[in-house]
């Protein structure tokens, strides 16, 4: 089933949803956004992700509604293809191969059959310059088409998608790059260029950042680096062009958007305030402040009712008529760096890392959704450059997830380092962490490492922290004090070793040993008595990482040194078991197995080795996992164990390895089996998209399904129901001579549309319906595993109607059964189409 080498590095979860401007569908019900290698379809009302449009093999760089069919969407990617999707059903309709990486693309209703792409210069691949080209869509109906008709429109355009905009009616296209605005008129085939000075005498930075065109008037709005917005008019003259300037933003305007009627202009920037300018009355502005993070994109629904803003913290906010935030789609927040390591919350199995400034985020990898943010710093964050603020730099969970320890620090220029150690207890009632103890200045210098004792059976939990001040401290939960506030944490022990600086600390699996590295020396302490048990050393090179073996390998202590050595000590003999020369950048142990993972950085790439400390041969190795250094990784336990027997992929059975690359991409390893399962589940996934998927609906639907399952216990292996459209397909593909007469079909079809008073009364009694379905079920339960068999489909689809949405009357049901006997079973599915 699983062969060697089928493990692949994939993006799974946590990809950017703010990479490109999102699209709101014409009916304002769905929001589509590019997210890594797929396009996500969200419901605007419930924030639920409805579809993942998967198919691209590289970063998706643009999403545009098909101007000629508002139920279809185009997406372009750096893999050089444009794909057309039906987003309501999540079906790929067409793939258009361009052959060049596409950075962004545009469509206009007045240019039917033409898409405009921004791609690197075709003639000159080396240069950074991009060009805007028109791609004529070939008329053929094939699934995979190669586009041959590509004509260049503008040669020097910015790769920033916000810097190109189409006018009302597609008469001209405006493109801004650096200090030049170019307006190209399609009809006249003439372009006008307007340049600004780089600096004026007041020090304004005039570079263009974004462009937007008024939908009805000839007015182009441009945003600039110094926060100004210019409204250009009369630009069909070389000299007599004119512009007016609006200035509210203090930093660069990152996005501009006119509302569809052209009455308002929306702008946003780093201030995280959405500004609404009245067109023609620009002195009046409306503000929507406190949106949380810098605005990167603004989009407006075609009816103008919904605005949505993308934010720098991987968030999309949906705003109703510029007054109310109605929904927030939060992706994994990725700042410039993750100061805390990647962690997994033992309770929720969520990935925990730095989120918003001063927060820890809990991100569910399974559902690809942020669960919640924990405010650690509990101070207002001020968006201002050059202002040092408290940052969460370390965090650790104890084994059961009852305690969370965090360290925050602030280093202001010329001031002493401010450090706070906070301990949070999990509160069952509120289902969240509550601050228990705050230790201000736990150490005199920066804390280098912190870990909890992971022994599951120990009565008291212990926290060890090591700091640059040369000490390590052990913290313990004290006895309940005289006050009623409950127990709090206090320092239990302060240790040092020859005045050296401790770098790493690690508890053994049973909590009986604490290993702390002091440069080249590893010291092993007994937490019970706090005596130094032994020292291990393997010079040269300071210890970089320290890790105890797990489970059966718990007698081993592994360490990596700065001088490219991976050492394994046997703690029973206190001697070096083995060592190997490897430049290990990151070493971590899987808590659920004996496996250890080592990321080695070599020649700009990172290789991964998975091994057991007891075995000399690595279980698995993967060359060139990604370019650049891997600095953070974590083993996340799986919800259910994977049943794969392949030798090389066994290590992924219990837990999954996630890692962050230099460019803050969250990657993971996936096996073939896993992918197959995912594919299968996505095929089976049926959600009636004609109804907005509310949580209530899902809840109710599940409840009904359960109820049904109890009723239909005779057929425990019920498969998912096939879709109604299949029936129509079958009807259309079946030769006419085998169909029943049209009059017969028609009368039945018409009858199905009629509503009789008697029927509604009967429908009120779902029990009866379900009894009915049960009876049917009994008849047809056997062959249901093969949905391709046409004979069996009728029952299942019939059942869909009756159980899921009871639309059939009794009389119709009877009729149906009669028809079924004639083996025109597929016909019944017509009724729900």
């Amino acid at each position: 089933m699983v062969e060697h080498g089928d493990i692949r590095v994939v993006h799974r979860g946590g990809s950017k949803i703010n990479f490109r401007v999102p699209v709101i569908t014409n009916d304002s019900r769905f929001l589509l956004c590019a997210s890594g290698e797929c396009v996500k379809v969200f419901s605007t009302s419930t924030e639920e992700c409805i579809h993942d449009l998967q198919g691209h093999t590289d970063l998706v760089t643009g999403v545009v509604l098909n101007p000629s069919n508002h139920l279809q969407v185009y997406s372009c990617s750096e893999d050089g293809t444009i794909r057309l999707w039906d987003f309501t059903d999540g079906i790929l309709i067409k793939t258009l191969v361009i052959g060049y990486p596409i950075y962004s693309f545009y469509a206009s209703a007045n240019h039917g059959g033409v898409l405009f792409i921004v791609s690197p210069m075709i003639n000159d691949r080396r240069s950074e310059a991009c060009q805007l080209a028109a791609v004529h869509l070939p008329p053929s109906g094939d699934q995979l088409v190669e586009a041959r008709e590509i004509s260049s429109v503008l040669s020097d355009v910015s790769s920033n998608p916000a810097a190109v905009a189409f006018s009302r009616g597609g008469e001209y296209i405006a493109s801004a790059k650096d200090l030049q605005l170019e307006v190209y008129f399609f009809k006249k085939e003439k372009s006008y260029r307007f340049s600004l000075k780089e600096h004026n005498n007041k020090g304004a930075r005039n570079k263009f950042t974004c462009v937007s065109c008024h939908p009805t008037d000839d007015c182009i709005a441009t945003g600039h680096e110094d926060g100004k917005i210019r409204l250009w008019r009369n630009f069909n003259h070389k000299r007599e062009y004119t512009y007016s300037t609006l200035h509210w933003h203090h930093s660069a305007v990152s996005s501009l958007c006119f509302t569809p009627e052209g009455t308002n202009l929306l702008s946003g920037g780093v201030e995280s305030v959405l500004v609404q300018w009245r067109y023609e009355q620009e002195s009046q502005q409306d503000f929507l402040p406190r949106l949380g993070a810098a605005i990167t994109h603004i989009a407006v629904s075609p009816d103008g009712a919904l605005f949505c803003t993308s934010h720098a913290d991987n968030k999309i906010t949906i705003i109703q008529s510029c007054v109310k935030v109605s929904a927030v789609l939060q992706g994994l927040v990725k700042g410039e760096s993750v100061r805390t390591d990647l962690m997994v919350d033992p309770r929720s199995k969520a990935l925990v890392l730095n989120g918003k400034p001063g927060h820890l985020q809990f991100y569910s990898l399974q559902r690809d959704k942020q669960l919640y943010n924990l405010d650690i710093v509990q101070q207002e964050y001020i968006h201002q450059s050059g202002l040092e603020q408290f940052e969460v730099v370390k965090a650790a969970f104890d084994a059961r997830g009852n305690w969370l320890a965090t360290v925050e620090e602030r280093k202001q220029k010329d001031l002493e380092l401010e450090l706070n150690l906070k301990l949070w207890a999990y509160d069952e009632q509120t289902q969240s962490f509550v601050l228990n103890t705050t230790v201000s200045a736990p150490h005199e210098a920066r804390i280098t490492a912190m870990c909890f004792c992971h022994a599951a059976d120990s009565q008291t939990t212990m926290l060890a922290s090591a700091s640059k001040d040369g000490h390590f401290k052990a913290w313990q939960l004290g006895e309940p004090a005289h006050t009623e506030e409950g127990p709090s944490w206090s320092c239990d022990f302060v240790g040092a070793y020859h005045g050296l600086v401790p770098e790493c600390c690690c508890f053994s699996a049973d909590g009986s040993l604490l290993a702390i590295s002091f440069q080249e020396v590893v010291t092993v302490w007994s937490p019970a008595s706090w005596e130094l048990l032994t020292t291990l050393s393997q010079p040269p090179g300071a210890i970089r990482d320290l890790c105890f073996g797990q489970l059966s390998c718990s007698k081993y202590l592994l360490g990596t040194t700065a001088k490219n050595l991976l050492c394994c000590w046997n703690l029973l003999t206190c001697s070096l078991e083995w060592s190997t020369a490897m430049d290990v950048g990151l070493l971590l142990a899987d808590p659920l197995s004996e496996n250890m993972a080592a990321f080695c950085c070599q020649a700009g790439c990172t290789d991964l080795f998975v091994f057991k400390p007891s075995e000399p041969r690595p279980l698995f190795s993967h060359k060139a996992v990604c370019s650049g250094k891997v600095t953070h990784a974590v083993f996340a336990p799986r919800e259910e164990m994977l049943e794969s027997c392949g030798e090389s992929s066994q290590w992924l059975n219990r837990s999954q390895l996630y890692f962050l690359t230099q460019y803050m991409d969250l990657l993971t390893f996936s096996t073939k089996a896993e992918e197959d399962r995912l594919m299968a589940s996505s095929k089976q996934l049926v959600i009636d998209d004609s109804v907005a998927v509310t949580p209530f609906y899902l809840l109710l639907g599940k409840h009904r399904q359960e109820k049904q399952e109890t009723l239909t216990s005779l057929c425990p292996e019920r498969t998912q129901l096939p879709q109604g459209s299949v029936a129509i397909k079958e009807l259309l593909h079946t030769p006419a001579h085998v169909l029943p007469s049209t009059s017969y079909l028609c009368s039945m079809f018409v009858r199905s549309l009629l509503i009789s008073i008697k029927d509604t009364r009967e429908e009120d009694d779902p029990n009866e319906e379900e009894m009915e379905s049960e009876k049917e079920e009994e008849g047809d339960s056997e062959g249901e595993m093969e949905p391709s068999a046409s004979g069996q489909r009728s029952s299942s689809s019939g059942q869909t109607q009756e159980s899921g949405a009871p639309a059939l009357t009794k009389a119709q049901g009877r009729e149906l059964r009669r028809v079924k006997k004639l083996d025109h079973s597929w016909l019944s599915s017509l009724l729900d189409s």
Partner: protein
């Protein structure tokens, strides 16, 4: 360029007066500008914005509005009088009481037949313009409130009048008010305050544009009297409006010092209906913009901060030319300082007094660039207040420091100064010749034996001075019979020649020995801004408003070889790009090849013995020359040696002892004496 001991003078507290009103004559391209002290200035926009004429002010005359009718200039002020000016003799021709209280505005109909004035008592008075004078014709229907602003419809049949809280439209024929446009008051606290319609503009398509004290620029339909659009431009007042002649663009000046442009644009390319859209904002002033003119190519603005700013519209002029540069005219284009070269004294001219200073002395010797300790401090010897209401129009100090003369439009006064030790005695010369009633320009002969005073019709009165009395000698007259006033006079050091320049660009040279006209220099199209006669070669050096330098040999009566060479090779583009005129020319007696000239931002020594710079050479090369070795230096040096160490120069002059006097007036010092501007919220303050 030679080394000089420099007297760096900063005690001339010259303070220009605020700009109150402006009017532009499209046909002659002359801008008339009225200042708060009643002085009028005329700028020639076709000749590098040169300040051609100055009519001195008068106490009690406050010009509130200006109006051109053909070549005639009218003003009206809060003293309730209408004044017409004699632009040839630089004095008011007549004044006429309007009997309506203070006059806020004056406007002529486009046909140039009638004047309308808006009075404090609520009347709009129509005056008929006659050949020599104006005559009251009738009142339009009297209103309750004062009339602040007026604008004629181009047809001349309708007048829009801005008042308190409203705009009225009058039928000019019948005098009836046809429409009443109510102007909304400001919001908030200013709700209770009346809104003042500071300015209205009546366009040919019956659109009325108004600017008011609530900070709004409003566009009205004058036919129906309905408001079309309101642009809130500022939190303070919109004080001035100006529309281009083709009515495609208008500008509004605000109390914040900004000028906001509106353009008449169609919303899309293919449609013809147009709309007034706010476009650019110019901020070139720190204080109120009181006066605005929108010419076809530029926005000219002036206000409380006393500077005249010409902001060319880049869509109307060729880019990167002299014309496209922003110009700020802060100083007058004539010298207010006269220097007693032999005595080391300076005479500063203020509108209402004169100050005589003796320069400091020092015996120190220092390296170039050092400041030398002052042994004796500069000292104010005399402060002479003028007599009468008229402001001083010109003044002169004799080179020996023994004579002092000044003139107003009504009289000339001559004083004898005597020094004994530290005491200065000043005695007025009582018996002046009858012909010496008023002078446009005064000049002493280098040996202080004669006083030259230019009077009307370009004639020069020569008066001999001896001891404590004076004697009329002669009146030098031109043959051409020009009527334009003389604005420059220069006598040669040997006492033989006198050169005069009049505003119609004519330069005459008189032989003082024979007391008759020696020659007339060929007329150059640009007005001369400084003239001087070389002491040894007797060449006349003339600098013109377009920055050209000409040298004319008085002996041969032709342009000199050097001048021809300069014309042939052409001046350096950077030299031509300077935006302030040369206002003074002197010579270095030590080195006859040196000509010293200065404008506001630099002074320059032209060495006629060195080669001229070619077009690509570095013009401002003094710093690079200093860094080069001696041999290289010769190769790179050229005739123009420019020094920019001293800025905002009012006078550069060479004393007898070869020390240089530099009179500076930093603009910051002027700005610090201005009243505080309106409060504006600035970001991050």
């Amino acid at each position: 360029m030679g080394e000089f001991t420099v007297h760096r003078v900063r005690f001339f507290d010259y303070m220009p007066s605020a700009i109150r009103a402006m009017a532009f004559n499209r046909h002659t391209e002359r801008l008339a500008l009225a200042r708060a002290d009643g002085a009028l200035e005329l700028f020639n926009f076709s000749d590098s914005y040169f300040q051609e004429k100055v009519i001195p002010g008068r106490d009690g005359r406050a010009v509130e509005a200006l109006c051109w009718v053909g070549r005639r200039l009218f003003s009206a002020g809060l003293n309730g009088e209408i004044t017409e000016y004699d632009l040839e003799n630089l004095r008011p021709r007549y004044t006429m009481e309007a009997y309506g209280g203070p006059i806020w505005t004056i406007s002529s109909n486009p046909q140039g037949t009638h004047l309308a004035i808006g009075c404090e008592d609520g009347t709009v008075k129509i005056f008929e313009i006659l050949e020599e004078t104006i005559q009251f014709q009738r009142n339009l229907n009297r209103q309750k409130n004062r009339i602040i602003s007026l604008s004629w419809h181009p047809s001349g049949a309708l007048i829009a009048a801005g008042m308190m809280d409203m705009i009225r439209i009058f039928n000019a024929e019948s005098g009836h008010a046809t429409h009443r446009l109510l102007v909304e008051r400001g919001v908030g606290a200013s709700k209770s305050r009346e809104v003042v319609v500071w300015s209205v503009a009546f366009l040919s398509d019956h659109t009325i544009v108004s600017g008011d004290s609530a900070g709004k620029v409003q566009v009205w339909d004058g036919r129906t009297g309905t408001l079309i659009r309101t642009h809130l431009v500022t939190k303070w007042d919109v004080l001035a409006l100006s529309v281009t002649h083709d009515e495609s663009s208008l500008v509004a000046g605000t109390s914040e010092g900004t000028v906001v442009q509106f353009q008449f644009l169609s919303s899309t390319v293919d449609r013809t209906d147009k709309d007034w859209v706010r476009t650019r904002t110019f901020k070139n002033h720190t204080h109120d913009v009181r006066a605005l003119v929108h010419t076809d190519t530029a926005v000219v603005s002036g206000g409380m901060d006393t500077q005249l700013v010409v902001r060319p519209l880049l869509d109307k002029v060729e880019k990167n030319t002299q014309e496209s540069a922003l110009r700020k005219i802060a100083f007058p284009h004539r010298s207010l300082v006269s220097c007693g070269k032999k005595a080391g004294m300076l005479l500063f001219q203020f509108p209402d007094h004169l100050e005589l200073w003796r320069l400091g002395e020092s015996d120190g010797h220092g390296k170039p660039g050092d400041s030398v300790p002052v042994k004796r401090k500069p000292e104010k010897l005399v402060q002479l207040k003028r007599k009468g209401d008229d402001h001083i129009c010109c003044s002169a100090l004799s080179p020996c420091g023994g004579w002092l003369a000044y003139s107003t439009v009504s009289s000339v006064r001559l004083y004898r100064l005597q020094y004994n030790n530290n005491n200065v005695s000043i005695t007025k010369v009582t018996k002046l010749p009858k012909v010496l009633t008023s002078a446009h320009q005064l000049c002493f002969a280098p040996d202080s034996s004669k006083l030259f005073a230019s009077s009307s019709q370009s004639s020069v009165v020569v008066v001999a001075l001896c001891q404590s009395e004076c004697k009329y000698l002669h009146t030098l007259k031109t043959k051409s019979g020009t009527r334009q006033p003389i604005h420059l006079m220069s006598a040669s050091d040997d006492g033989k020649w006198l050169a005069t320049a009049s505003t119609d660009c004519r330069i005459h040279v008189y032989n003082l020995h024979k007391l008759k006209l020696h020659c007339t220099v060929p007329v150059y199209s640009s007005c001369p801004t400084a003239i001087a006669i070389h002491p040894t070669t007797s060449n006349l050096v003339m600098v013109h408003a377009d920055q050209q330098i000409l040298e004319y040999s008085l002996a041969q009566k032709e342009y000199t070889e050097w001048s021809r060479k300069l014309q042939k090779q052409g001046l350096h583009p950077l030299w031509l790009d300077r935006d302030t005129p040369i206002i003074h020319v002197t010579f270095n007696p030590k080195n006859p090849a040196h000509i010293i000239l200065h404008d506001t931002y630099m002074f320059c020594v032209i060495d006629q013995s060195l080669p001229l710079p070619d077009q690509k050479a570095l013009l401002y090369n003094q710093m690079t020359l200093r860094s080069l070795p001696e041999l290289e230096r010769v190769r790179h040096s050229h005739a123009f040696k420019i020094c920019k160490t001293f800025q905002h120069l009012l006078c550069v002059s060479l004393l007898e002892d070869h020390s240089l006097v530099v009179v500076e007036r930093p603009l910051l010092d002027i700005a610090s004496q201005l009243p505080a501007p309106v409060r504006q919220k600035k970001f991050a303050t």
